[in-house]
Amino acid sequence: MPKRTSQTDSPRPGAGDEPDEADAEHVAPEDRGKAEAAEDLRLVSRIQSGDASAWGPLLERRETQIYATCRRMVSDAETARDLTQDVLVRLIEKINDFDGRARFSTWMTRITINHCISHLRKQKLRRHASLEAPVRKSGGETMGSLGASLEQRSEHGVERGVESMEEAERVAGALRAIDPDHTAILTLRDVQGLDYAQIAETMEVPVGTVKSRLFRARAALREQVERMEKQG
């Protein structure tokens, strides 16, 4: 049985993929995560007890993360900015509902993802009503359909890395074109760098469900990328 490295030890894509970056920080990511969670909790407690001066430090340290998530889920920077602001407002309005049972970052991410999914669904509804056929949902994809999609893929999709930002943007475009649930889980994993347990907590589903959804989401993304490559 192959050995899997600890998820917390693996490079977190959202926080820097190169191993030397992680090494350079001299702090185990797990410890860093705990310290960040503790600091979040401290700031939230101050806010909940009426100290408005804690808003700045709390939101300032998290707004980039929220924006990055929104940016991957929507098509343009301006919309991402608006969504980020919406999420921030929601965090402010709901702060007294945060009870500390989950990490603040998890709670925040859940709000972010749900808001983005809601936005994407509305967009897709509009698009469906006006222009194009809906993107084929691959949430219920079976082995057979996955096999079929593998057969259909183009050759130049093989042997490739991230060769250019153009290609990266194509992947980003494909991410936005697939089902919002798939977009969300891929964003949590690949953009935010959450591990399975954190994703499970954020999405409030079992870890096993996260794994299966993530697999289907990757397959859906790949299929969409290849479709876009074919279209040129």
Binding site: P2, K3, R4, T5, Q7, S10, P11, P13, G14, D17, I47, D51, A52, S53, W55, G56, L59, E60, T64, Y67, A68, R72, A77, R81, T84, Q85, L88, V89, L91, I92, E93, I95, T142, M143, L146, G147, L150, R153, V158, R160, G161, V162, E167, A168, V171, A172, A174, T187, V191, G193, D195, V207, G208, K211, S212, F215, R218, L221, R222, V225
Partner: protein
């Protein structure tokens, strides 16, 4: 996290490769140690198609990670400040929707039995006063004639009753404030007596509170011990010259409705970014400096803003300009609620023009932005000031209680 024991429900990646879905995912995500990764890769190579797919999928993941780093680097900063302002505005609107209905309803002068009795009594007194000179042998030079005793006559008689009250020249029209020693029935004008009858519970205005806020002794002496919107308003309590108090407290909902944002109010110190200064006790020099920096907006809600206007403009070195005069007081001495927003300075920008549309009775409805609610001037004024993108815009609300 255990690996490989998972999900029977998830599809196998492909026949013949001998690689489970979990192994494939772990390989794609770079979660395997080197030996395990080599092992999986060797097995994947038995299925070139699947191998190619896995590599492409791995590249997809890497692409998203690259973009995530770029996004983080390009992320706009400081969005949270706007978010705080928006949250504040929503809180205000929500609270006003619940508690402010009465306050936002037009204040009309209602004729009640008690007022009728009081008015009748005053008319009798006035009539007796008017005929007293004849009964006692002639009018004394210092006594006003009957016409001067009519409510509002002290305002309009000199210039003619039909002229509009122009707030810009309000000072010339503004009646002299009552002497501090004035008592009901003791040399008080008919208008004052009427006012006292109509508002029996109001506090006696004194010279300190009648003066423009920034000159108040309290603020000049230093910050109050417990700075808050309410203490600020209390120091500015002043009755209309006609004695009618509209009863609006503009900033009250801000304080009570959003304690988290209001808690950091501290006079004489610029609040930290994001801690929105709902109202800010400040010295005159502070106000002048902020006005000169174009960072001062003042909303005045008063029965007769003309009372405040000239003092306000003079205090700010004429840098503040009235952008929405609202409705002037009526000419009968019974003032309708009048609101205005003073901004420093008036700029010929879209935003400033929009601000111009704020006012209880503004007729410039065509300039209202979509979010405006005509008539709900306080919400609008606060919305525009709260959503101002410039840092440190200071708002001072002056309202009678």
């Amino acid at each position: 996290m255990s690996h490989g024991s998972e999900p029977h429900s998830t599809p196998e990646p492909g026949p013949g490769a001998g690689v489970s879905q979990d192994e494939l995912m772990a390989w794609i995500e770079g979660e395997l140690d080197a030996a395990s990764a080599s092992d999986v890769e060797a097995r994947l190579s038995a299925d070139p198609e699947l191998h190619a797919w896995a590599r492409a999928t791995r590249a997809d993941r890497l692409a998203l990670a690259v973009l995530a780093r770029r996004d983080a680097a390009l992320a706009p900063r400081g969005l949270w400040r706007d978010a705080l302002g928006e949250a504040e505005r929503r809180a205000l609107l929500a609270e006003e929707a619940v508690t402010g209905r009465a306050a936002s309803a037009p204040v009309v002068f209602r004729i009640t039995p008690a007022r009728l009795v009081a008015a009748a009594a005053l008319l009798i007194v006035a009539s007796l006063g008017a005929i007293a000179p004849f009964l006692t042998g002639g009018a004394s030079p210092g006594q006003p004639g009957p016409a001067a005793l009519a409510p509002g006559a002290d305002r309009g008689a000199a210039a003619g009753d039909d002229r509009d009250v122009d707030v810009a020249s309000a000072e010339s029209e503004r009646p002299a404030p009552p002497a501090p020693s004035a008592r009901p029935g003791d040399g008080a004008s008919a208008a004052e007596q009427l006012a006292q009858a109509a508002a029996p519970d109001r506090r006696e205005p004194d010279e300190t509170t009648r003066a423009f806020a920034f000159n108040s002794a309290e603020l000049a002496a230093g910050p109050p011990r417990t700075p808050s919107v309410r203490t600020l308003l209390a120091s500015h309590h002043a009755a209309d010259p006609n004695g009618i108090v509209a009863g609006r407290a503009v900033a009250g909902p801000l304080m009570s409705g959003y304690r988290n944002l209001s808690a950091s109010l501290e006079p004489r110190r610029r609040p930290m970014p994001g801690a929105f200064p709902d109202a800010w006790g400040m010295t005159l020099s502070d106000a002048q400096r902020l006005a000169s920096e174009h960072r001062l907006a003042i909303a005045v809600a008063a029965d007769d803003p003309g009372d405040y206007l000239e003092e306000l403009l003079a205090a700010l070195g004429r840098r503040a300009v009235v952008v929405s005069p609202g409705a002037p007081s009526d000419r009968n001495g019974v003032s309708a609620p009048v609101e205005l927003l003073v901004s420093a300075p008036v700029e010929k920008t879209e935003r400033a023009l929009r601000v111009c549309a704020i006012g209880a009775r503004s007729v410039r409805l065509g300039a209202l932005p979509p979010r405006s609610r005509p008539g709900d001037w306080a919400s609008e004024a606060l919305w525009w000031t709260a959503s101002d993108r410039r840092d440190g815009l200071i708002r001072v609300f002056i309202a009678p209680r």
